[in-house]
């Protein structure tokens, strides 16, 4: 029966092949993609923790064991990724973006493989498959040149990452002679006390890969480009699911830090973990700061994703029970709300035809369902109770304070407040404010899109007030990595270190106060609806103030004061390093090219010089 683990990988591959054949027929392609996701979901229902499977791959006459092992973490990740994928592909049935279903299915196959495999060969293979399929997927964005550029950038980062992992896994293989993840991890844990630097080196090779995939601080530069210029329907998957692969990988390796007895500690943390907490915090703050002034809405939310992943990394790096719980919980929450946000963005962009904030505005009347989904999405993302983003953020703060990481916590809080700012900016610029006359004929998304949006709304509220449904499996994961799980008092409770939060209570409180608000609203004097243009400044023509209709919408420089505040930040070009590296390589390339001068004589000279060097070497040796 355990062979269904294989089918988890093969079903999407087969689906992908069929979809690839039919890819010219967009609807069929999408339909097959959706149904494959649904079938895979059924296969996941048949999967349970502790299932293992192994087979041998013949590699140069030597058998390489491929093995599968379902852990609590893997089954959790499988469920959340596939359920989200199913919803997304259902949404994509009526979608007009150029996402290729078969590529998504390839990613699904890699997804299932990554989450269930217990050998590094399979892990690496799946990782590569996932990386390349996503790179090709990014290519189909609306802005062709930019998406090509983004895909190239992403590809280079991703190749760099996979080479790093390549190096790491073979180094482990050299040391242990095995590719099995679990036994290699056990080996690393066993020698970490003896050779901490070795272990650190090897693990950091893997971590570079994971950080690149998740887009953590020094390697975040590809994220905004790739997210922004990917096909609109693919971006939700990229942000919601694919960024979690890096987190998954980090979670695999983090238990080693438990054993790091030989390492000096800072605030009770091994210093490596401490550094990672700071990396997470820097990512969170950086994402926030950079998100403020984006005019491209997808870029804005890409930076937002960055920021949230910073939270997750900071939390799981603590490797305390609260920290890991909070990290995984936030990973789930981020998947849900950022998925929902990007899906609504896809809906908006497909209707309005632009992703520029300064060109949109006032769409709330035209697309009410989308508007509400987006509203709840940003409420979740801002961590407003009782929606789903709150609990995890709350736990993250607690886990940080528990370690007395005060500055880090303050910065995270800054990031969170900032998040509210840019989220509102996006909200305002898309849905609120003046409706441009370009969008007079914009309609709500088709029924399928609305169904998905209702579903997502429901999910965000449901998992907000019933966090127990997530916290219980998270608790199992925490237990399986060797930490004490947090107590789960009930489905509605988030249990913290210092206090508890009763989410349904907050829900009730809000609901009742809303009822009172509405009662007050309806019993008081009448109101009448007027058009948006009928307002305080209605008598004036914007042009008189030197304003164009775009700037009248006031999203042009929403946080202008902040620009002055953060000016020093902007002077540090974060991706300058990578661009510099690229430029340096290019210049070196041009210089090296000069070696080949095109003169037969000089080529002969090279050969003679080479010969002489060898002769001298032989002489000396």
């Amino acid at each position: 029966m355990n062979s269904n683990l294989i089918w988890l990988v093969f079903t999407p591959l087969i689906g992908s092949a069929i979809a690839a054949i039919l890819y010219n027929y967009k609807f069929l392609d999408r339909l097959i993609t959706f149904s494959t996701f649904a079938i895979t979901l059924f296969l996941v229902f048949g999967t349970h923790v502790g299932q293992t499977y192994s087979m041998n791959l013949n590699f140069m006459g030597r058998m390489i064991p491929l093995s599968w092992n379902v852990t609590h973490l893997s089954i959790f990740m499988l469920y959340i990724s596939i359920v989200f994928g199913t919803i997304l592909t259902f949404y994509s049935l009526m979608d007009r973006s150029r996402m290729k279903g078969f590529l998504l299915l390839l990613i699904l196959a890699a997804n299932n493989w990554i989450f269930t495999t217990n050998d590094m060969v399979g892990f690496f293979f799946a990782w590569e498959l996932m990386g390349w399929a996503s790179i090709v997927s990014v290519l189909g964005g609306r802005k062709e040149r930019k998406s090509r550029h983004a895909a190239l950038y992403y590809a280079l980062m991703s190749i760099g990452g996979s080479y790093s992992m390549f190096f790491g896994l073979f180094t482990l293989w050299r040391l242990t002679g095995s590719f099995s993840i679990s036994s290699n991890l056990a080996y690393l844990s066993s020698i970490v006390g003896v050779h901490p630097w070795w272990v650190l080196g090897i693990v950091s090779l893997f971590f570079v890969t994971f950080m690149i995939k998740a887009g953590i601080f020094p390697f975040h530069t590809w994220v905004p480009m790739a997210y922004a210029y990917a096909p609109d329907t693919f971006t939700p998957f990229l942000s919601a699911v694919m960024s979690k692969y890096g987190i998954y990988g980090m979670l695999l390796f983090l238990p080693i830090s438990l054993m790091e007895k030989g390492m000096p500690t800072v605030f009770g943390l091994p210093w490596v973990n401490y550094i990672f907490v700071w990396i997470g915090v820097i990512t969170a703050v950086l994402g926030t700061v950079l998100a403020f002034f984006q005019d491209d809405v997808k870029k804005l939310f890409a930076y937002s994703s960055l920021s949230n992943l910073g939270y997750i990394v900071a939390a799981i790096s603590l490797f305390t029970s609260v920290g890991v719980t909070a990290g995984i919980y936030h990973a789930f929450n981020h998947l849900l709300f950022k998925g929902a946000l990007f899906i609504t963005l896809a809906a908006v962009i497909s209707r309005s035809g632009t992703s520029k904030l300064s060109e949109m505005g006032g769409l709330w009347k035209k697309m009410p369902v989308t508007f509400f989904t987006f509203f709840i999405g940003i409420a979740s993302a801002a961590g407003i109770p009782p929606f789903n983003g709150f609990g995890s953020k709350w736990l993250i703060y607690q886990s940080m304070i528990k370690q007395h990481l005060l500055f880090a916590t303050i910065l995270l809080f800054l990031a969170s407040t900032g998040a509210f700012l840019y989220l509102f900016k996006a909200f305002h610029s898309i849905f609120l404010g003046q409706l441009s006359h370009n969008y007079d004929n914009v309609k709500e998304v088709p029924v399928i899109g609305q169904i998905v949006e209702y579903l997502l709304m429901f999910a965000m509220i449901f998992f907000g007030i019933q966090p127990g449904y997530i916290l219980r499996p998270v608790g199992l994961i925490v237990k399986s990595v060797g930490l004490n799980p947090l107590a789960v008092m009930g489905n509605g409770y988030v249990t913290g270190m210092f206090s508890n939060v009763d989410m349904p209570l907050i829900g009730w409180s809000l609901a009742i106060s809303f009822v009172f608000g509405f009662i007050l609203f309806f019993i008081s004097a009448k109101h009448k609806y007027v058009s948006q243009e009928d307002n305080y400044t209605a008598g004036q023509i914007p042009q008189d103030w030197g304003l164009t209709p775009e700037t009248y919408q006031f999203s042009w420089k929403f946080y202008e004061p902040m620009e002055k505040l953060f000016a020093p930040f902007y002077r540090i070009k974060i991706d300058g390093f990578f661009r510099g590296l690229g430029d340096w390589t290019r210049i070196t390339g041009s210089a090296v090219k000069q070696v080949f001068v095109g003169n037969a004589q000089i080529y002969t000279l090279f050969a003679v010089v080479g010969l002489i060097i060898l002769v001298i070497a032989g002489w000396v040796a």
């Binding site: 001068v597 095109g598 003169n599 000279l605 003679v608 010089v609 002489i612 002769v615 002489w619």
Partner: protein, 277 residues
Amino acid sequence: MRNDTPILVKKITALSLITILMVGFFWAFTEMPKGSSVNVNNRVSRLYILKNVKAATKSLNSGNFFAKGMKPLRSDVPYSPITFGKSANLEDGAANVVTSIVVDYRGFDTLGEVTVLFLAATGVAMLFFGKRKKNIIKAQASLIMSVGTRIAYAVILLFGIYIFVHGHLTPGGGFPGGAVIASGVLGLFLGNDHYESNHLGLKLFESLSGMAFVIIGLTGLFSVNSFLANFLPTGVIGDLYSAGFIALIYIAIGMKVGAELSAVVDSMIVDTEEEWS
């Protein structure tokens, strides 16, 4: 080193490089066997000279050829003394040991060698391919020249044929013979302003003689079950009709080389104009 390096720098660099290289060479030669200590008996040539390769093979197959430490015992291979004009049915009948190596023991090299020459000639002809221009007469050949070359041509041709036919007995063979023949053709070109070689004939000679070589080789493969094996009786050493297929091959080579070099001369002398349209 760049294209615009001054010539002096270039020369000094080249000189110093070559000096280092020469020093290296001479240093290596100090370890080489001196001229006075070269011992053919330590080399595989001993077997070729004494024509006891078959005996060596037998000893090899019985495992006695290589001593401990994989040192070959070439001097221990039994041999029968060879007397010129008397010894018959040797494994290789050529009196000229170099020829026996070139054509028989290492005949495959020679096939390759012929091919190289053939390819060079083909390449030359290919690059000069095009519409033939009228011969531009650079200098009128004198009467003596034009008559003399024609007479000499016959002699040279005959001499060339003699050289390759006697390849297995005397110094010489297919290549020198062919070259001699080609020099005759060159003489014709120099002596006659309007001389045109018979292209069809050259081509036929070239192809057929080359094919003959391969076919002889293939005959060996099908009759003696080894490519380029000597399938003819070797006769008495020193006889003209001896040494099996060596003479046949040398005739083929001679004709081929003669035709090829003539063709090279032809293509180089005759001006052509390219046509790619």
